[in-house]
């Protein structure tokens, strides 16, 4: 495109030298092969669940990370300039923070207008005077770079509180290295792994200053955060525990992780949470996401922060106007890479210049304020422009104007071949204990439209890997392809209570989903119309079960057969497709996934893949044609059962038998017991007209028909069926089996606790009441035709199971929600 620097082609149309090899390789590969390789590379994004939540924060949906196959190539000479410039800028930003949260010489000597501090919402007064060890506020720093038409690089944004994107950068590398394995290795692309290792070692060394064997946690706002994937990915890569605010507590000015084994001290917090959210007590934050008392713990020197609280102060656009002089003053050097030309309207001269040349600028709020964004006067109509000018003149101090840079272009693969798009490069620096080191690569983000200057992952933009080629300084032997670490479930003592909670509920929801699928699958044949044909469930049985389980709440016994059939069909279809129904399949699947999301760094990639498969199986719409619907649903549900089995199998085979596993198992067993007794109650206890039909369906749902027929080839009777479904501890679907498994898990979980622990007592009671039951008594009908003894047993069992669930919750899971004391005066 004219008027832009073309990253690939020289004005003559020949590729620049550092792009040539890639250019040749891609041409040789041809479009077909490129697309095939790209498809295979992208599978990593799918299977590792690389997501970016760009949507409405109220929705829990994830969006797949969007990536372009062609890397952004930077040659080594240019890179070494970028590297030095970035390290200098990180040093400068850190020096500014040291001064502004300390002696404030910059204000006294008028090197910075005091307003930049006093009016900034990013200046955290409670953090004034806190001097971090070694004078390092910034452990991680990022800058967004852009190249203007003359080939010059500019910094267009600084990120000093929670620079995001490092994890995505590493993901992009895994994908691009897989897409172009040959080119990648011939090309001498500098590896990222060393930077990540160095960053990890620096954190460990820093924390080791406090005590040997220190504990480091990654603090995330939670799965709703747009970059949650990255938080869990980095925590997994570095082997640090991923925590939310509620997992930490401050006692005696020290930070602790709440685990099943009690409070474990935390030495360093790698936070992925914005400044003001970190401590709801001392910092203003409208949410309670953070850790109350954290500021005081930091002030007392009892916990280290990456980055320091309040470090967002220097990332506001308004600071850029002052950096050249600050760099001379603080570092005695010239700023190596200029910032995009920035005018702060709070000064008269700059304001006049901005107002006179308004079309040349992007106007931004001087400090981040909710609901204020960058504005582009050039594309405004006269009225809008008047309003903007009026605002600048009314509150000049709140506006900065930045020159618009015509961003350089890179090729992007589209349906129409390669198209040029604008690029912004995010680069990272980290303090390694002695100096700032720069990641040899970065996150290249590209505009969605050729005319757009907005480059943002939030507005659905795509990213590219960034290849720095040549001039590798890595000693041989340290080259290590970043590999995914599949976390084994840690020992009981280190499992955060919240994760135990999530595992428990994932177990419960998984089982709920499975019983729903089994129920619907067994009842669908009742709709075929051939009521008593073969092994098909009768409509009457279906109505009885659905009514018993409260899926059907209307009284329809007097309705015509056709009406009944229509109603049952509607109930079954809703159970599968209606996502608003809390008892339905979709709702429970969503809850299952919600629990799983919190466990992301603890689940294997294969487990995720299966979970995603399950979701895609159940994401379709109900077919319009009712006949098709019946068949489609049968196929669908058969498929879902297989996927669910794969999910259970993976959990079973790939999870270490630690405390985490126990909670998952307890959740499953408890839910299966609840579902099975509910099924028995609905199918058997009422004075059924057709016990045989009921039994047939029950056995089918409980996957026990074959065993039953082998043991009792003659007839379907209540007593042997109860034996198989309720008491037989060798049948993995019986209630007795679940109780025995529960007892085993609870015993192991509480092996070091007092023997009279209430959970153990409750479980023993459950096991014994089933073991001591006699099927002959249970299958006797009372005067009203009901199975009274069975009804009583089921009622008691259900109540005890819920009591056990509540008791486990109270003992192990941190369920108390934080709240703020009301204002008083």
């Amino acid at each position: 495109m004219a008027g832009h620097w073309d990253e690939v082609l020289l004005p003559s149309g020949i590729p620049r030298r550092h792009w040539r090899q890639l250019f040749v390789d891609i041409s040789r590969m041809g479009a077909g092969q490129l697309d095939r390789r790209w498809a295979s590379g992208q599978q990593i994004i799918q299977t590792q669940g690389v997501t970016y939540n760009a949507g409405d924060p109220g929705e829990s949906e994830d969006y797949s990370w969007l990536m372009d196959p062609i890397p952004f190539v930077v040659d080594s000479a240019e890179w070494s300039f970028i590297e030095r410039a970035l390290a200098q800028r990180a040093t400068l930003m850190n020096a500014m923070l040291v001064d502004l949260y300390g002696p404030q010489r910059l204000l006294r000597e008028r090197l910075l207008p005091p307003e930049l501090l006093f009016a900034s919402p990013n200046f955290l007064r409670p953090c004034m005077g806190i001097a971090p060890p070694g004078g390092i506020h910034l452990h991680t720093y990022a800058a967004d770079l852009a190249r203007s038409p003359d080939g010059q690089w500019w910094v267009i944004a600084d990120r000093t509180q929670v620079p995001s994107g490092m994890g995505y950068t590493l993901q992009n590398r895994l994908v691009s290295a897989r897409t172009f394995p040959g080119v990648f290795s011939h090309y001498n692309v500098r590896h990222l792994a060393r930077f990540f290792d160095a960053k990890r070692e620096a954190l460990l060394a820093l924390a080791a200053g406090r005590r040997s064997n220190p504990a480091i946690v990654v603090l995330t706002p939670g799965p709703h955060n747009e970059t949650y994937f990255e938080h869990s990915f980095l925590a997994g890569q570095w082997g640090f525990t991923l925590v939310e605010g509620a997992d930490l507590t401050v006692v005696d000015n020290r930070v602790f992780l709440k685990t099943l084994g009690g409070l474990k001290p935390v030495d360093l917090i790698l936070r992925r949470m914005d400044d003001t959210f970190c401590d709801p007590l001392e910092l203003r934050g409208d949410s309670l996401l953070g850790v109350p008392g954290l500021v005081q713990a930091v002030r007392s020197g009892n916990v280290l922060m990456d980055n320091s609280l309040g470090s967002g102060l220097v990332e506001t656009a308004v600071h850029m106007a002052f950096l050249p002089s600050l760099c001379r003053e603080l570092l005695g050097e010239e700023l190596r890479m200029p910032s995009v030309a920035t005018w702060w309207c709070g000064q008269d001269g700059p304001r006049r210049h901005v107002v006179e040349h308004i079309d040349d600028f992007v106007v931004k709020p001087a400090f981040p304020r909710h609901g204020h964004h960058a504005e582009f006067p050039e594309s405004m109509d006269a009225e809008e422009k008047e309003r903007l000018l009026a605002r600048i003149n009314a509150r000049p101090d709140e506006c900065v104007a930045q020159e618009r840079i015509a961003l350089s272009t890179v090729p992007v693969r589209s349906d129409d071949g390669f198209v040029p798009r604008h690029a912004v490069l995010r680069v990272y620096a980290a303090w390694d204990g002695a100096s700032y080191i720069v990641m040899p690569g970065g996150l290249t983000r590209i505009s969605t439209e050729d005319s757009s200057f907005v480059v943002s992952m939030k507005s659905g933009g795509r990213s590219k890997d960034t290849w720095v080629i040549g001039g590798t300084d890595e000693p041989p032997g340290t080259r290590r392809q970043a590999s995914l670490r599949i976390d084994s479930t840690p020992m009981k003592s280190d499992l955060p209570s919240r994760l135990a909670d999530n595992l428990f509920w994932m177990g419960r929801y998984t089982e709920r989903v499975e019983s729903l699928v089994r129920l619907v699958r067994a009842l669908l044949p009742a709709l075929s119309g051939e009521a008593d044909f073969g092994r098909a469930a009768s409509l009457e049985t279906a109505i009885q079960l659905l009514t018993g389980m409260k899926f059907l709440t209307e009284e329809i016994s007097s309705a015509s057969f056709a009406e009944q059939r229509w109603i049952v069909q509607r109930v079954l279809v809703d159970l599968v497709y209606d996502s608003t129904q809390t008892s339905g399949l979709r709702w429970n699947l969503r809850e299952m996934r919600r629990s799983a999301r919190n466990l992301k760094e603890r689940l294997s990639i294969d487990t995720w893949r299966v979970l995603q498969q399950l979701e895609s199986q159940l994401s379709g719409f109900a077919p319009a044609n009712p006949d098709m619907r019946y068949l489609a649903e049968m196929d669908l549900l058969d498929g879902v059962i297989v996927t669910l089995s794969a999910f259970s199998g993976l959990l079973m085979e790939n999870t270490t038998r630690g405390a985490g596993w126990r909670f998952l198992e307890i959740g499953r067993r408890m839910e299966r017991a609840l579902q099975t007794v509910d099924l028995l109650r609905s199918g058997l206890t009422t004075a059924s007209l057709d016990t045989e039909a009921s039994l047939q369906v029950l056995l089918q749902i409980a996957d026990s028909s074959i065993t039953y027929r082998q043991r009792n080839p003659m007839a379907l009777q209540v007593e042997p069926a109860l034996d198989l479904l309720l008491i037989d501890e060798t049948n993995p679907r019986s209630v007795g089996f679940q109780m025995a498994a529960l007892l085993h898990q609870i015993n192991r979980l509480q092996e070091n606790d007092e023997p009279e622990a209430v959970e153990r007592q409750l479980t023993l009671k459950l096991v014994n009441s089933i073991r001591e039951s006699r099927t002959a008594d249970l299958s006797k009908r009372g005067g009203n035709g009901r199975l009274v003894a069975l009804e009583e047993l089921i009622q008691e069992t259900t109540a005890t199971l819920w009591e056990l669930s509540d008791s486990l919750t109270a003992r192990y899971f941190s369920h108390l929600t934080a709240s703020r004391l009301s204002a008083s005066w």
Binding site: F118, A119, L281, P292, Q296, L816, A818, S824, W825
Partner: protein, 293 residues
């Protein structure tokens, strides 16, 4: 004059609280005309720890945690304070600087004092400046008018034009709404005055404290609030727009900051608790001189 002060804040929770971390700004400041003879804070149930620190504005903060399960909680602060009869602020009232000159000095922030005071000319979370507040102030701030005259009149106008109505507002009511409704409590009166002054580029801070009870004073049932205004080359002067008076022997200063949010008497985060109710009682009583407190 010697005063005895008691400020108790009681919370009652719907469900038990297992953890409460709290900050209280209840200890009066030591000032030239205000000597704190004795001061202590008691917390019930007994806190796991209670420490004092000084905050950014130099206020005393008592930080404490209650980690045992409880369903009610009370923090009571008691102090004996000697308030000296001389005028609170002394000579600054004699300043003849116009308000425009003051604004220019603050904007330039050349000397250390003006630089520090300039912190209080910007918007703060509870006090966003606005054209409406500026317009309200301009009726009083006529060109070239001496600052001290204008602030006295502003205080008088707020006293007359706003209706004091206990419990008429919550701290969540935006300042613009208070300005429209023309009613509120002492926090609102103070925020309005601070906002009006800042809208003109003047420096004003929020002072929390106590006022002696008596028929002639409004605002004694709870902690009170008033305003300090910076006068270059003079210092800070205080005005109480709720009572339209210059705080003197009848006022005791506890803490100051940009607005209520910086000096809230009790803040805290609890785990559990559900719905809560809060009750506050404040007594400020003169002690007979010579009597042992």
């Amino acid at each position: 004059m010697l005063f005895s002060l008691t400020h108790s804040t009681r919370y009652v929770y719907e469900t038990p609280v297992s953890y409460c971390l709290s900050e209280a700004r209840l200890t009066p400041r030591s000032l030239p005309n205000q000597q704190v003879r004795e001061t202590w804070i008691s917390v019930d149930p007994a806190p796991a720890f209670l420490r004092h620190r000084e905050d950014y504005f130099g206020n005393d903060v008592a930080v404490f945690g209650v980690f045992q399960q409880h369903d009610r909680f009370a923090a009571t602060a008691k102090s004996i304070v000697d308030v000296l009869p001389e005028p609170v602020d002394g000579t600054p009232w004699e300043s003849s600087l116009s308000w425009e000159e003051t604004r220019e000095l603050l904007a330039a922030a050349q000397d250390e004092e003006c630089m520090k005071a300039s912190e209080f000319i910007y918007d703060s979370p509870f006090v966003p400046t606005s054209p409406e507040l500026a317009e309200y102030a301009r009726k009083t701030f006529e060109p070239k008018r001496p600052l001290v005259d204008a602030v006295k009149e502003l205080s008088q106008r707020i006293h007359e034009e706003f209706k004091y109505q206990a419990a008429s507002t919550s701290i969540d009511m935006p300042l613009g709404e208070v300005l429209r409704q023309r009613q509120g409590v002492c926090q609102d009166f103070s925020h309005i005055m601070i906002g009006a002054l800042r809208s003109l580029g003047l420096s004003a801070r929020y002072v929390s404290g106590y006022i002696r009870s008596g028929a002639q004073f409004t605002g004694a049932q709870a902690s009170h609030a008033w305003v300090s205004v910076f006068i270059p080359r003079g210092g800070w002067v205080s005005l109480d727009p709720t009572n339209d008076m210059i705080p003197s022997e009848s006022h005791i200063s506890v803490a100051w900051g940009r607005d209520y949010g910086d000096v809230a008497p009790v803040k805290g985060i609890t785990l559990g608790g559900g719905r809560q109710s809060v009750e506050v009682e404040v007594y400020m009583q003169p002690l007979d001189s010579g009597t042992d407190p």
